[in-house]
Symmetry: C2
Subunit: 386 residues, 2 copies
């Protein structure tokens, strides 16, 4: 689950935006992206199925941030038949976690609680090490443990969160991964991920591990246990492959639930680790949070006067986008949208509201995060299943 | 450590023989092969070094079967300085073990005893699974355990033999392997091993594991512990890479000691699993051993009369070759050679002598092999170092 890419094809395709597991460039047209990947939009009837079994619909789905899927409806029906399934997502531990990273994890936690199902969370320290010429393996593994604190802090039931740290839990993954590897030729991974001759053989092999976790619940339980994977849509290439080879390997096809990207505070389509001011990290103190939010790019007008006269544009505004992701009630989001458009809400006020919400969220999060520090191993999949 | 190859370049080069880790074709010119690979012949002065420290020279070296090396002299000098080193070899567990497989292991055991150093023995069940379209992973792992019995039966001291079963001991190997992988591009492994676009990514990654074991003693001991690898010369491509990247990764360069191939009973340069009559398996009973040896190809003449008149040719004769490998004293080998050439020894008699020697060797071996059956885990590297 990645960022910048070493040894991949750097030539930009002749399109207005680029989305790969390692790169998001240009302004993303999410509908077009969906057609490009061949995933399906999340429809009202699928959301109704979710509501039927979960009793409610999470705001991240209700507000359209999770917007696409593969076989989400099949998982809901499978659940309706009382059959076992599991959740799966992950993180490439290349540095500290920002709130954008946490958005899919928040949905993961909600789904795990609502459906009472286990969540597998992969920390791909091997991939981050293999992908970043500057990073040592020890450093990547330390980030995996550091990032795990943010996952645990979301409040998962201990017996329902299974952390998979690639280099430390490889004993469970490798026998599955080699069976995946036997189905994937170099030309297949090259085409899917844009690898080149100078890609290292670790990165060439890595997709087998991200795919292997999708089959791990079936392995560990000894019965067909499909996974639902909530993640950003850039991960689709992995799970498209995972779906293609599942049945020949005797596993149920994984289902996916895809989100858009979390906008950078600077207004780009996706938060970037290369500019620390473009993202709010879970370890940022309140002064830093306030500074970053107050300095954020907005959809507002250059002056308060123009804003009052013409209104702002929430659709390009990261501050509004964060209200969508983090506001507690839909009504306040809708009100912010209308007031912005009408020129009744100025950016400074709107930012202050967001600051208070994010600061409050992270205040609690940081406490739980520190409490998790000595308990990571309790959530490790191999410690439990050894 | 391999046999037949899937997804590798099948076009035969314009040379009179082919040697890769997966294939030996044609009549091998061992001197030419040495120059092709760039390894060095084992000289009298290096053998004298061995004798100095070991107190004697093993027949397999004395009789020229181990004939080449990389840095064998450096390992002897390192030993002379009282510094730690280890031994390493391995086996691709694709089926039962024949006596040809065991020849390098016999030297491994002797070196381990004589120098009191630990021997790492890798069983590459992952590779055999990835390489053979017909083999399941479970089958390859079962062969790994079955083949391990033959290794243990050679009589290694328990604390000096460390078995590495790739899929079961991957936790120790993987963190080293990913650091190897970061140094190996697709184009490097393609060039070294003749991979193609249809090679699966498991085979593309596999060389990192065979290389990783060469660094494992240094990892486990926490101090520079070079390995000496006695193996057939077809494994040189792996260890050439292992030597190239050792120093950038902070490991001492592995040294190697290369043997020729064990001739097939049918007269080809290397025993082949595809014809069971070309090899004597450790589990063959005495009737089968006798039948195979008595039916073997020889360097003899069509009739006893011609043999007496013109003599035979031990240089192309697998029966003579097996005397070289297994006879207890040099004098009997030399006598067989001279008597054959002089026409004084007929093939039938010569085969009977060989049959008695091999049957005796395997009679003891089979007993020790069965005794080992419940003790394999005691030799497993991760069971010891967990």
């Amino acid at each position: 689950m990645g960022t910048a890419g070493e040894g991949r094809d750097a030539s930009p395709p002749e399109e207005e935006f680029v989305v790969t597991p390692w790169e998001v460039r240009g302004r993303v047209d999410y509908e077009k992206l969906l057609r490009r990947f061949g995933a399906r939009p999340l429809t009202q009837s699928e959301i109704a199925l979710l509501e039927k079994y979960a009793g409610e619909v999470h705001p991240l789905i209700r507000r359209g941030f999770f917007y696409a899927h593969r076989d989400f409806d099949a998982i809901m029906r499978w659940h309706g038949e009382g059959r076992p399934w599991a959740l799966y997502t992950g993180r490439g531990p290349s540095g500290p976690v920002h709130i954008g990273h946490m958005v899919p994890w928040i949905l993961l936690k909600w789904l795990s609680d609502r459906f009472g199902v286990e969540a597998y969370f992969q920390l791909t320290d091997d991939e981050k090490f293999l992908d970043d010429p500057e990073m040592s393996l020890g450093e990547a593994t330390r980030w995996a443990y550091e990032n795990a604190l943010d996952v645990i802090a979301l409040g998962f039931a201990r017996d329902r969160l299974h952390l998979v740290v690639d280099t430390e839990d490889i004993q469970l993954l490798y026998p599955v991964a080699v069976r995946v590897a036997k189905k994937l030729t170099w030309s297949a991974v090259r085409a899917t991920f844009g690898f080149t001759d100078s890609t290292n053989v670790g990165l060439a092999f890595y997709p087998t591990l991200q795919i292997a976790v999708a089959y791990l619940p079936t392995e560990l339980r000894g019965e067909a246990t499909p996974v639902l994977i909530p993640c950003a849509i850039d991960q689709d290439p992995y799970f498209r492959l995972a779906r293609d080879i599942a049945e020949p390997l005797g596993y149920p096809k994984p289902a996916t639930l895809y989100s858009k990207f979390v906008m950078a505070l600077t207004g780009e389509s996706k938060m970037s680790a290369s500019n620390p001011d473009s993202a709010i990290y879970t370890t940022d103190d309140e002064i830093a949070i306030r500074r970053k939010i107050m300095n954020a790019f907005t959809g507002g007008r250059p002056t308060a006067e123009e804003q009052r006269k013409y209104g702002g544009n929430p659709d390009v505004c990261p501050v509004y986008h964060y209200h969508v992701l983090f506001a507690l009630d839909d009504a306040s989001v809708e009100r912010a949208r209308q007031d912005c458009r009408a020129g009744a809400l100025l950016c400074g006020e709107c930012k202050l509201v967001l600051y208070r919400r994010i600061a409050e969220f992270l205040r609690e999060h940081r406490k739980r995060r520190e409490k998790a520090r000595d308990r990571v191993d309790e959530y490790r999949v191999s410690v439990k299943f050894r």
